[in-house]
């Protein structure tokens, strides 16, 4: 069993904050496909469509039949640890700071043998369950877990470098006025977050659920209006050094395409929250989080963006909102670059129609705020960066991956009257 994680001590202001260092980030272009699967929490390797041979490390051609069309497919995650070592020295500063480090050779049920990080609870020559996740450098790596759940399994030192567990961490939820923000705060508390700062704009204005929100253990209601730069900066000055996880629950959603609107007022409001709001948060909280990427067990670890799946492709029914979401998605992509070198993950959840008032006329299936909050917690505890939530979002993402230009036609021309 793993030793349970202890609550990190209060930060000593006289001590220098440890600078983030990184595991090696260089990868071949082919290996980036492994990373993108890992970012979705999938364990995928190249499979030959001709001879079915599973190959690793990533190659340009099948080593058995020289087929040039190796495809990345999810493969069975079972395997057996057949050789292991504990490294006690490393030429890389990141690992050197974290010695000893356990690695081993795993014979996968799917065929190849791979080198992997090994969870502390895996015994010699035992069967393992493989996961692929992004490490602090943002690149995909494999880790072998015990086949069966063990006590405090998530607290394993090596596993924790791949995850963003809320346990003993401090989180900021940017909008607590909505059911989504309130469910998110509760879910973070349930997942072990010690302090949950919940932003509320215009506190004098009453809102549903406010009392329940304030009663959640660890919740601290803070004044925050992400359409107001001063408000965002003031909050960052007050608690920005304690933002280990930031979940941006604020959104501004209105139906309508440009032609159905008069003027740009609504569109501007959408952009103020969905795009400029995100940008204000990035500018106010980003640098501090980036500097705290290696700040102990409650280091800054994740920035969570909740985005409509129509950020990927415009849906005219919510045409201008889609456009502001697309702007936010684009910003979130660049945010990975901004956070590069810090170990802070950018988690993007693309969700289908949410069960809330401004999407009330839309037909099911819909995503409940509770489900969205649970999904964020799952992504954080598992260390997953890219999540697609709900049947509608899954459908759109699938079509997007197949051909974004076909999806564009389908969403804009093949849904009359929607």
């Amino acid at each position: 069993m793993t030793d349970a994680l202890k609550r990190p001590p209060k930060k000593d202001p006289q001590k220098r904050t440890t600078s983030p260092t990184l595991p090696p980030f260089a990868r071949s272009r082919k290996a980036v496909a492994f990373t993108t699967a890992a970012a979705e929490g999938r364990f995928a390797l190249q499979v030959c469509p001709e001879c079915e041979h599973v190959t690793y490390p990533p190659r340009e051609t099948c080593p058995k039949c020289w087929c040039m069309h190796l495809a990345w497919r999810d493969i069975p995650d079972g395997g057996k640890l057949i050789a292991e070592t504990t490294l006690r020295t490393s030429v890389n500063t990141y690992f050197r700071e974290r010695m000893p480090w356990r690695i081993g050779t795993v014979q996968l049920d799917a065929g190849p043998t791979v080198l992997a990080h090994i969870h502390g609870d895996v015994g010699e020559f035992e069967r393992v369950r493989m996961i692929a996740r992004t490490d602090k450098s943002g690149q995909g790596v494999m880790l072998a877990l015990p086949e069966k759940e063990t006590e405090n399994m998530a607290d394993d030192r090596q596993l924790r470098t791949l995850t963003c567990s809320p346990k003993f961490r401090r989180a900021l939820v940017t909008d607590g006025r909505t059911e989504l923000g309130q469910r998110m705060a509760k879910a973070l508390a349930d997942a072990g977050a010690t302090r949950i700062f919940v932003g509320v704009a215009e506190e004098w204005r009453p809102f549903q659920g406010s009392e329940e929100l304030a009663a959640i253990p660890g919740v601290e209601i803070m004044p925050l209006d992400i359409t107001d730069t001063i408000s965002v900066n003031e909050l960052a000055a007050e608690m920005g050094d304690k933002a280990d996880i930031l979940v941006n629950t604020a959104e501004y959603v209105r139906p309508g395409s440009p032609m159905q609107r008069h003027g740009v007022t609504l569109a501007r409001d959408e952009m103020e929250t969905n795009y400029f709001g995100l940008m204000r948060l990035i500018q106010a909280f980003g640098p501090g989080m980036k500097a705290r990427g290696a700040d102990g067990d409650n280091s800054a670890c994740a920035w969570v963006n909740l985005l409509s799946v129509y950020a990927l492709c415009n849906w005219p029914v919510y045409g201008t909102t889609s456009a502001s979401q697309a702007a936010a998605l684009s910003l979130s992509q660049g945010l990975r670059g901004d956070f590069a070198g810090s170990g802070v993950k950018v988690v993007n959840v693309l969700f289908g129609p949410l069960e809330e008032s401004w999407r009330q006329p839309l037909p099911p299936p819909k995503v409940t705020p509770q489900r969205l909050a649970d999904t964020v917690i799952h992504a954080l505890t598992e260390g997953i960066e890219n999540v697609t939530l709900g049947p509608v979002a899954e459908d759109v993402v699938r079509r997007y991956k197949e051909d974004p230009f076909v999806l564009e036609r389908e969403l804009t021309q093949l849904q009359p009257g929607m």
Binding site: P24, A31, A83, L87, R88, V91, I103, L115
Partner: protein, 392 residues
């Protein structure tokens, strides 16, 4: 395909000579070019041959970037009619020997200078590991960045688990090599080592300890390949080439490397030489971690597969022992000068067979076996080779 062995020609009339070892340094501010130039300069001094005589050049180096053997011709004022650049690391000694010998045998060149050398700046080793190969970049270096320590610890534990090889066995080889190094003037490690010190040494990557690991350094090794009559005319002591083998990416489906390419070609190796393993007077294995020495002893037929432990227990491995092995101290005690590590055993064998060894000379050495192993591309060494040399 028909069996290649039936068609292989020997190396009659082709000899190796002028063994050059440029004394190593832990860190050097000089580039690889300096070390290779010094190797060539020493070759010239030892052989009396100059740029007009040397018409073939074969180079092995990791740190020569952005240059290759081609650029070195201009740098060194050579105008060769035959040129090769060998990227096989620890197997480069045997591989350059094979290339050069065939070039001379066919008449494509008369005299081939085989040069290997690398520099070692502060941080060179880390830089090399970072960009060593695509597979290592994608699939091994991100896992703890232990470099070869990590890869060989897995092979070592696998050999121990599979065959019952013991740490004491590896230790015995390391201690004997240190004893040999005490008699070899150019060895970096000059402090005697005991088995007790080995057994209680600092762990590096379980089960590998400090004394299992080579020390990266700067250095160069070189030798010449030419026709026997030319060596005679030049008054150079030489050795004959009896047999060679080379193999890459052998046994790709072994889950953890437990044998090398030698095991594929061992029968041909001895058949071509026309001698049996017990005729060998000294063995130079590639010793970047002692598990590989044990593997070479097994795969080259000095003992049964899996019997390295008993074999090691039943012999002594100093230059004056029952099975002289890595008689200059090997890389473990001399140091690992990059690709020159692949030449070290071959150059030492030439010295031993041509009366050039000093106080570590193996008495009456007639036959030497030399083995190379290199390029941990992902999880295993890809390149292997071996040669048998005989005194004139």
């Amino acid at each position: 395909m028909s069996q290649a062995a039936a068609y292989r020609t020997g190396y009659d009339g082709i000899v190796v000579t002028a063994p050059v070892s440029v004394p190593y340094e832990r860190y050097s501010p000089e580039p690889a070019h300096w070390w290779l130039a010094r190797g060539l300069s020493d070759l010239g001094k030892q052989s009396g041959l100059g740029a007009n005589d040397i018409d073939g050049l074969c180079v092995s180096s990791f740190t020569l970037f952005p240059d290759t053997a081609a650029g070195l011709t201009q740098h060194f004022g050579l105008t060769p009619r035959w040129l090769d650049h060998v990227p096989t690391g620890g197997a480069s000694g045997v591989v350059t020997l094979r290339r050069a010998a065939r070039a001379v045998q066919s008449g494509d060149a008369n005299v081939v200078a085989c040069l290997s050398g690398d520099t070692n700046h502060v941080d060179s080793f880390r830089a090399m590991l970072t960009t060593f190969s695509r597979f290592s970049q994608d699939a091994s270096y991100p896992y703890g960045s232990g470099g070869p320590n990590g890869s060989f610890s897995l092979m070592t534990s696998h050999h121990m688990d599979t065959y019952g090889t013991r740490r004491e066995d590896f230790g015995k080889l390391c201690v004997a090599q240190r004893d040999n190094a005490l008699q070899y003037p150019n060895a970096m490690m000059k402090k005697p080592l005991t088995l007790d010190e080995y057994m209680h040494a600092r762990l590096i990557a379980d089960p590998i300890v400090l004394y299992d690991c080579v020390m990266p350094c700067a250095g160069a090794e070189a030798y010449l390949v030419m026709r026997e009559e030319d060596a005679k005319a030049q008054g150079l002591p030489y050795a004959h080439i009896l047999s060679t083998i080379e193999r890459h990416n052998s046994f790709p489906d072994d889950p953890v490397q437990i044998r090398g390419g030698w095991a594929l070609d061992v029968d041909e190796f001895w058949a071509m030489a026309g001698i049996e393993p017990d005729a060998i007077d000294l063995l130079q294995t590639y010793d970047d971690y002692p598990v590989i020495c044990a593997m070479q002893m097994e795969d080259l037929g000095f003992c049964e597969k899996g019997a390295a432990s008993e074999f090691i227990q039943s012999h002594t491995f100093t230059y004056d022992g029952s099975f002289p092995h890595n008689t200059s101290g090997g890389q473990l005690s001399v140091g690992q000068a990059g690709a020159a590590g692949g030449f070290l055993g071959l150059v030492e064998a030439i010295r031993q067979l041509t009366g050039g060894a000093g106080s570590n000379a193996v008495p009456d050495a007639r036959y030497a076996a030399i083995s190379g192993f290199g390029i941990i591309n992902f999880d295993r060494g890809l390149c292997s080779g071996a040669a048998i040399l005989a005194s004139a």
